[in-house]
């Protein structure tokens, strides 16, 4: 059988100097300076470099790698959002990409109108949308609100409707980027199930995710990217195992690969993390081992916490004074972080060490990760979406006007029934 996707030597270059808004003024200045231009390629950044692979019809391919490895750029080039700088891609079938849930939704339009609008933007014909309309409404479970403008929808309904439209696209090739990170756990399961169905019907799926569990259960083939290059391809479990073994991010244990050159006078050797307690009173225990290999000024460390989409949530600086002296040689540290009420997601931790905040000696991006599975508000029946942030603030509400003597319902007391009145 002919491969449905053939990618040959594809590269994509971004001109970092031109990022943001180029102006005519800059261009004119450039023309005058052309004679003595200094190192024009200094700002070039290759998001993809010489990438080649083939995908057979019906395959589900998981694309993994750290942030900035080129995964999203690959999807954008495949979806024709941007052109490659070099190389060639041949697609034998219609392609639909789902890089975001609800692309092009218009808040003033009703659910019904948005189904048609979003469907058409994603490449469906009008008749096709009309044919699948009832299925879409059924999947989204928004039946009674069909003629309500979507700006009045709860965020959960909004996400359900948006995913439902996308799930009913019937392209031969479906490209999905992280969109499953939205919605509550049960809806995520439903979405994963739908993607499995799509593949069972003989369609091809390319799936970018930081959720290793999803990649493991869903994909047969894995593509591992690092710094724009395709590092490894093959059966998904093998590629995943390599990725994790190399300290590939989403795991509760990390150790510095022996192949990696020692970064600086102080370096992280290994790290592990575990969550203790019940939401919303959870603590993160991080066990760190560092080594000082050469004399250096005293150093301190911090830990950044990011969402599965790489959005920074918080930073923990357990001691802002530089406390790690090089004479000590080895540092075995235990950091305890009081977690705020985080919404369910897979969070990752970036480790940082250095003598001054502007002088990093070793940074390990997304070294560790952990999962928050339960909402910090157990009584809550609707899901969490990134549009509303990643924290739930402890809050209370009470009547101020006369006639209501009942005590306010408090967030804390809901979470811990033992302290309830």
């Amino acid at each position: 059988m002919k491969p449905i996707i053939e990618v040959e030597n594809v590269s994509k270059r971004f001109r970092l100097g031109h990022l943001g808004a180029p102006t005519l003024r800059d261009a004119v200045r450039g023309w005058f300076r052309r004679g003595r231009r200094d190192a024009p390629d200094a700002h070039d950044f290759w998001a993809l470099r010489d990438v080649s692979f083939r995908v057979q019809p019906g395959e589900i391919v998981g694309i993994i790698g750290r942030n900035g490895a080129g995964k999203s750029t690959l999807l954008k080039v495949l979806s024709r959002i941007t052109e490659p700088t070099a190389g060639r891609i041949k697609l034998r079938g219609r392609i639909a990409s789902l890089l975001e849930v609800g692309t092009g939704f218009h808040p003033d339009l009703t659910g019904r109108e948005n189904i048609f609008l979003n469907g058409a933007i994603l490449g469906m014909r009008r008749a096709e949308i009309a044919r699948k309309f009832d299925d879409i409404v059924g999947f989204a479970e928004v039946g009674e609100f069909l003629d309500t403008p979507v700006k009045r929808y709860s965020s959960g309904m909004y996400v359900r409707l948006a995913f439902a439209v996308a799930a009913h696209l019937e392209p031969e090739i479906l490209v999905v980027d992280e969109v499953l990170a939205v919605g509550d756990a049960s809806f995520q399961k439903k979405c994963l199930g739908k993607m499995g169905d799509v593949a069972r019907n003989g369609r091809t799926v390319l799936f970018v995710s930081h959720n290793m569990g999803a990649v493991r259960t869903l994909c047969q083939t894995g593509l591992l990217f690092e710094r724009g290059r395709l590092l490894k391809s093959g059966p998904a479990h093998g590629v995943l195992a390599d990725y994790l073994a190399a300290g590939g991010g989403d795991a509760d244990f990390w150790s510095r690969p022996a192949s990696e050159p020692a970064p600086g006078p102080i370096q992280f050797d290994s790290a592990s993390a575990r969550v203790e307690g019940i939401a919303p009173r959870q603590r993160l225990h991080v066990d760190l081992r560092l080594t000082s290999t050469a004399p250096h000024r005293p150093a301190f460390l911090w830990i950044d916490l990011l969402t599965s989409l790489g959005v920074p949530v918080l930073q923990a600086v357990p001691d802002p004074e530089p406390f790690m002296e090089h004479q000590r040689g080895e540092h075995h540290l235990r950091v305890v972080i009081d977690l705020p009420p985080l919404v369910p997601d897979r969070y990752s931790l970036t480790l940082w060490a250095g003598p001054h905040c502007t002088e990093p000696m070793h940074i390990v991006e997304r070294a560790l990760s952990f999962e928050i599975e339960i909402s910090p508000q157990p009584s809550r029946t609707f899901g969490h979406v990134p549009e509303h942030g990643f924290l739930v603030a402890p809050s209370s509400v009470a009547y101020v006007n006369a006639g209501h003597s009942q005590a306010p319902r408090e967030f804390e007391s809901l979470a811990q029934p033992s302290s309830a009145a």
Partner: protein, 289 residues
């Protein structure tokens, strides 16, 4: 059967993605494939713009009426510029009918890449669908503006003004509007592509729209322009359809076949070049967003 046909069509569907060098011809077929999106975007504009508020549609009537009032006072009473033997307000309203459509369409259409950068960075479709939908849905406002034209027309006809549109003349109206739609789309494509390349051109675009009105016979008739300078004004492709609209609706206007033909040819040339320029910009415009 339908499903079968769809499947086999899909399997034959081969797309090759590779870097394009230089200019490429407009992709008519692709636009045709996305005609349903065009239609749905037009419907979206209608419902989002006109459903929520009554003031929205009203504004499209009030705006040209106020402009007409200003024109009548300044150009008619103070400057004393003649109006082709047509009552002033009716003359200005008819001129503005075509001009405000054109100006509004290019003002919004010229920002296609800037206003839709988020959408364009998430999904592919031929980007020309967006300005094309804008050019179509703005026709609704023009339709509304026909109401004050009709009212003024009835009033002045009753007062015995010399108005004689005739049935043949009325055919000119749709022809003129069609040309304005194509022209507005063409200029939108040019402006979007230019402002996507250099963001500071946005300000130039606004200025251009203002200047352009003075080069168009809106508050003066073509017949008032000295004969040896008329050719210069005919170089403005908007001039011919504006005069055509007046000729069709009021029976007063200046139009000769060479000028009309030149304007039509200019319109098509602008559309072709604009589309090519636009396609060139859309390939990598999301990289710098």
């Amino acid at each position: 059967m339908l499903v079968m046909a769809e499947m086999s069509e899909a399997i034959d569907h081969v797309t090759v993605i590779e870097p394009t060098r230089g200019w490429s011809a407009p992709r008519w077929r692709e636009l045709w494939e996305y005609r349903d999106l065009l239609r749905i975007l037009v419907e979206r504009d209608f419902s989002s713009r006109y459903r929520q508020t009554l003031l929205g549609p009203l504004w499209f009537i009030v705006q040209p009426l106020l402009t007409t009032l200003m024109f009548t006072l300044i150009f008619g009473k103070m400057a004393g510029i003649p109006t082709d033997g047509v009552p002033g307000p009716l003359f200005y309203l008819c001129g503005l009918l075509g001009w405000s459509y054109f100006a509004q369409t290019i003002t919004a259409g010229g920002l296609t890449f800037i206003n839709n950068s988020h959408l364009f960075s998430k999904v592919y479709f031929p980007r020309i669908v967006v300005p094309a939908a804008g050019a179509v849905s703005n026709l609704f406002a023009t339709g509304l503006q026909l109401i004050p034209v009709a009212l003024f027309y009835a009033w002045f006809a009753w007062r015995g003004a010399a108005l004689h549109p005739g049935w043949a003349g009325l055919l000119l109206v749709p022809a003129a509007m069609l040309q304005l739609v194509i022209l507005a789309l063409a200029v939108s494509l040019w402006m979007s592509a230019a402002s996507a390349k250099y963001r500071d051109l946005v300000h130039l675009n606004q200025f251009l729209v203002q200047l352009w009105m003075f080069a168009t016979p809106i508050f003066y008739p073509m017949s008032h322009v000295p004969a040896r300078w008329q050719w210069l004004l005919w170089c403005n492709p908007v001039a011919a359809p504006v005069e055509m609209l007046r000729l069709g609706l009021l029976g007063h206007g200046t139009l000769n076949p060479p000028a009309a033909a030149a304007s039509a040819a200019g319109t098509l040339a602008l559309l072709l070049t604009g589309w090519m320029f636009f396609s060139r910009a859309e390939r990598t415009v999301t990289d710098s967003a």
